[in-house]
């Protein structure tokens, strides 16, 4: 049973979109996270963030989306 569960996970990972523009599938639980690169503001600087960099460091990532700056978030 455990083996089947793991295989299932691998299949899903292969199916997931790895390039954002080609991503037509809506991501949900147990899917591979779409990798992305984004400009970000961090401690007074403009930086480029790569999701991959965090994962390569063995980190968990909490992505939190919010609607807009300057509003109730």
């Amino acid at each position: 049973m455990e083996i089947n569960k793991d295989l299932d996970k691998v299949d899903k990972a292969d199916d997931a979109c790895q390039k954002l523009v080609q991503c037509t599938k809506e991501i949900t639980r147990d899917d591979k996270a779409p990798l992305f690169e984004a400009e970000a503001y961090y401690r007074g600087k403009q930086v480029t963030i790569k999701l991959d960099d965090y994962l390569n460091k063995g980190k968990w990532v909490m992505l939190f989306f919010y609607s807009s700056d300057f509003t109730f978030v």
């Binding site: 147990d30 980190k59 609607s67």
Partner: protein, 136 residues
């Protein structure tokens, strides 16, 4: 956002990198972080999803507004989305529950135990065994 900033040390202790994302520009993020009393506290990066591709890929884009829903994802170090939370328009997040989910995920992976409802650290996990089906 400020609520996440208040618990930032806790997330760090758990090995969690925090990233805020909206469809605003980095320029807006800068001024927001410099001027808003709540955003001034933010110690983590604010990413700009100005072309909305990230929000769309993650299925949290409000296409009419061009803005993301209030939503949180927990991604494990293998790059798998373990958790997808979408909040109502009107209600802010429960950051303590966010922390509890991470703690539960990590405890479950360390011990192989199930994490019961309302579990908090210090409470036992559940042994997942077919023999117990119908007995709990």
């Amino acid at each position: 956002m400020a609520a996440v900033a208040d618990q930032y040390e806790e997330f760090k202790k758990l090995g969690v990198e925090v990233l805020g994302i909206s469809t605003d520009s980095v320029y807006a993020h800068k001024v927001f972080a410099e001027t808003s009393p709540s955003a001034k506290k933010v110690q983590y990066p604010l990413a700009s999803d100005r072309n909305q591709q990230i929000s769309r890929a993650y299925g949290v884009l409000d296409v009419e507004k061009g803005a993301a829903y209030r939503a949180t994802f927990f991604i494990d170090p293998e790059g798998i989305v373990t958790t997808k939370l979408i909040y109502p328009r009107e209600v802010g997040r429960n950051i303590y529950e966010h922390i509890r989910i991470i703690q539960g995920l990590q405890y479950g992976r360390e011990t192989g135990l199930g994490i019961p409802a309302n579990w908090v650290p210090g409470m036992p996990g559940l042994v997942r065994d077919f023999r117990f089906v119908g007995r709990i």
